[in-house]
Amino acid sequence: MKYYNTLIFELSKQGRIGYNIEERKIPEVSLPSHLLRGTKADLPEVSELDVVRHFTNVSQKNFGVENGFYPLGSCTMKYNPKINDELATLPGFANIHPLQPEHTVQGLLKIYYDLQSMLSEISGLKAYSLNPFAGAHGELAGLMIIKAYHEKNRDFKRNKIIIPDSAHGTNPASATVCGFETIEIKSNPDGTVNLEALKAVLNDETAGLMLTNPNTAGVFEKDITEISRIVHEAGGLLYYDGANLNALVGKAKPGDMGFDITHINLHKTFSTPHGGGGPGSGPVGVCEKLVEFLPNPVVRKNDHGYYMDHAQDSIGALGLFYGNASVYLRAYVYILTFGQEHLSNIGPMAVLNANYIKDSLKDLFELPINGHCLHEFVFDGLKDQSTGVKTLDLAKRLLDYGFHAPTVYFPLIFSQSMMIEPTEVESKETLDQFIAVMRKIVKESLETPELVKTAPHNTIVRRLDEAKAARQPIVKFKDIK
């Protein structure tokens, strides 16, 4: 990587252009000037090559999945197949207006319908709406469904959502956005639900329980059937956060476990690119009694073909149109490249990879949870912490060796969390290289701890002064000048 330190605005030269637009010979329009902007937006003036070279240089300051191993726990950083990108952007998809008559978009509607059905089959839920734009948006949709369900039953007291302390931050944040009060319960030492703690808070104000399964420590909720029973007995609904669904692909269905609602992160389990933070996609699925509440629209089929159904009791619209269509197309292609013959191998291979890394390194790292993990696991820092090397240092040192860091300091239930998720796409050779580098870093931590504590050394920039950025926020080019 080279340290390219130029902003596009710093390349600007008055009069230079990077566009080619026809000016039609039709009359100019003049509008009342008090409705128009006083000065032009100060955008860069650069040539097309300037733009291309600039963003190529900028791109090279990033680490992507194709650069190397990306063991970011809970993020499921798989290979994003090229064919998915190619087929999802065919002109017959890319150039379609969202408000075209249904008979002119039957191909797209068929894909929606089939993807809804495939997600139903994979998760064991009755029906899906693809609308939510991301995992957190799916959570919000699911929570709205929970609220709509209780409202329809005129059960207005139910305003509390129970969430284990091992959950992703989006869970409690989504509950707040949906107007619920969050009740956080303390987990067992392995991050699973503490049944006694759960029983203690279940009552006639319980709207539902949000659960990630396997949880953020990669552990399956062994008591899930009992959890489901007592939550439902208390009148609550059970929400499945699909962030970790990858572990279960081929092995188990959330619907069979008693979950009423799920969201699925297509950008995790179904390999759509993370895009540096989005776009994602978080289709929301429900059991039979909740189908009427799904966000509008849901694609259905009748004798005339596919159509968009707007249900009366739906929670309503969650976006201008129908979610991130270009993301669904990729997920659809991805599922078909596996088909029923191979899809069921995803979970098993992901789980094998995670266990292999864990068991190859557990002699050197604190392993807070014994036994087999599922798709990911957590180390709680080094076994030998005598030299003061922390999880953050280990993560930064990994960057020096050409690996992305694991997720660090999450889940919050361990103080030195280092959460590793290899996914099913990595070969034994890649995992062996990673294991060897991890062992080398441990050795460095004990012999030359300063080297690790001051890492990274080989990246284009080194540790950043984050406090400075927050103290005097510089959030646009003009703030620099």
Binding site: V52, G316, L336, S344, L352, Y356, D465, A470
Partner: protein, 437 residues
């Protein structure tokens, strides 16, 4: 074997040995037996790359690519080839949220450039790194106003896109907030009605240009709203901001809207992106990621996510919003597009769109088959009331490969014209009107 699953049988055996399990199944012993699947999914068979390509092309062919005179929130503007080329680079496409800034300077830098461009367009102090779309960005703006004022009712102009209003209502309902739609007057938001209603409300949301394409005159609003203690929120789509008075110039508190019109394909409604920008004094109420500048230990300029104590991964239930994934790659597309168009090109695109819309408007009126509904200044969209069967017109358009205007009910037709529509295409549409029986 499968091309995305690399393990050979020997690999699996060697790895199992390390784990102490005798089969891969044994690794799943924590899942109760009765919950474990015993048969493959009932999904289609695997398709080879060739078969899959044929299958997808066949499905793509079942969607009609049309000559588009429809907008209503999604616009058929031209996109230079470089946009797709740049956003297809795997360094951008496949990377995660930039939580490890030393190896994510690429993402962070373009976010910073994107924020700068959004601030330029809107005249605001600070932008976040993107929202899902224009409607959800507007709903989040409502939450900001709620957090700032602690009041629970928002005013929304009737001239907004009804789809945006629907989303605002969904978000408001579940957060126990109330939405009052302010009736319009001759196609514009009614300042008198706003003045009458604003007391005790968290603020007003208007769209400019509005749903009917009309460029609203928003002078006087900020005084009325600010005197009442509310926030002024203006939703504008990106392309329009190159011409119409910006949110900053109207002294609005929050700027929001959709940026699909700046270089993103129509793609059946997504992925697009919303933007959200505000005055610095409200930054701590803002949702989403914000990128800032700092230095590394060697004093080099670098970019980093900042002011994160607003966000869900730190604040959990007390966060400003639940947003985590945003539409980052789309923000990159917009940044590349705006770089290529630049200061002059962007204005040209908007001007050509506006010229086309006015050309078509004049020609359509000359057919004498329409009534003028609103006599107001407009940008690239306009509404005319048809004196003919609008369904027959839509069918006649489709038969010629044209996506005609959107029918708003009662014969009101919402037309959109971008710089991509040629004079011939516009004349053809007019011809279809003339030939209607």
């Amino acid at each position: 074997m499968h091309k995305y699953l690399p393990h050979t049988r020997e690999d699996i055996e060697a790895m199992l040995k390390v784990t102490g399990a005798s089969t891969v199944d044994d690794l799943f012993s924590s899942i109760p037996k009765k919950l474990r699947l015993t048969k493959p999914y009932n999904i289609p068979h695997q398709l080879s790359d060739e078969a899959l390509t044929k299958h997808m092309k066949n499905l793509a062919n079942q969607n009609q690519e049309l000559i588009i005179f429809r907008g209503a929130g999604a616009y058929d503007h031209y996109t230079p080839s470089i946009v797709k080329a740049i956003i297809s680079r795997q360094e951008f496409l496949t990377s995660y949220t930039p939580y490890q800034p030393e190896v994510a300077q690429g993402t962070l830098q373009y976010i910073f450039e994107y924020q700068t461009m959004v601030c330029e367009l809107t005249g605001m102090d600070v932008s976040n790194a993107s929202m899902y779309d224009g409607a959800t960005a507007t709903a989040e703006a409502m939450f900001m106003a709620h957090a700032q004022t602690d009041l629970d009712t928002i005013l929304v102009s009737e001239t907004m896109n009804p789809r945006t209003i629907d989303v605002i209502k969904t978000y408001a309902h579940y957060r126990n907030l109330k939405v009052i739609v302010v009736p319009m007057k001759n196609g514009q938001t009614d300042l008198e009605a706003v003045t009458h209603l604003i007391a005790g409300k968290m603020g007003l949301i208007v769209q400019n240009p509005n749903y009917f394409g009309i460029i609203e005159d928003l002078h006087g609003y900020s005084d009325v709203i600010h005197q009442a203690g509310g926030l002024f929120i203006i939703n504008s789509e990106g392309q329009a901001l190159s011409l119409v008075k910006s949110q900053g110039e109207y002294d609005a508190d929050i700027a929001c809207g959709d940026l699909q019109s700046l270089g993103l394909p129509l793609s059946f409604g997504g992925a697009y992106l919303g933007y959200l920008a505000t005055k610095m004094k409200y930054v701590r109420k803002m949702p989403g990621r914000i990128c800032g500048v700092t230095t590394d230990v060697d004093g080099k300029r670098a970019f980093v996510l900042t002011l994160q104590a607003r966000e869900q991964h730190i604040r959990r239930a007390k966060a400003n919003s639940n947003i985590c994934s945003n539409q980052s790659l789309m923000a990159l597309a917009v940044t590349v597009y705006l770089s290529a168009m630049g200061k002059e090109g962007l204005v040209k695109v908007a001007n050509e769109s506006m010229k086309g819309a006015h050309y078509l408007y004049t020609k359509l009126l000359q057919t004498k088959k329409f009534d003028i509904l609103f006599n107001q200044p407009f940008f690239k969209e306009f509404v005319l009331k048809a004196k003919f069967d609008v369904n027959a017109f839509e069918q006649a358009c489709l038969a010629k490969g044209i996506l005609g205007p959107l029918h708003l009910g009662e014969g009101k037709l919402l037309f959109a014209v971008t710089e991509k529509r040629t004079i011939e295409e516009m004349d053809q549409l007019v011809e279809l009107v003339v030939n209607l029986v």
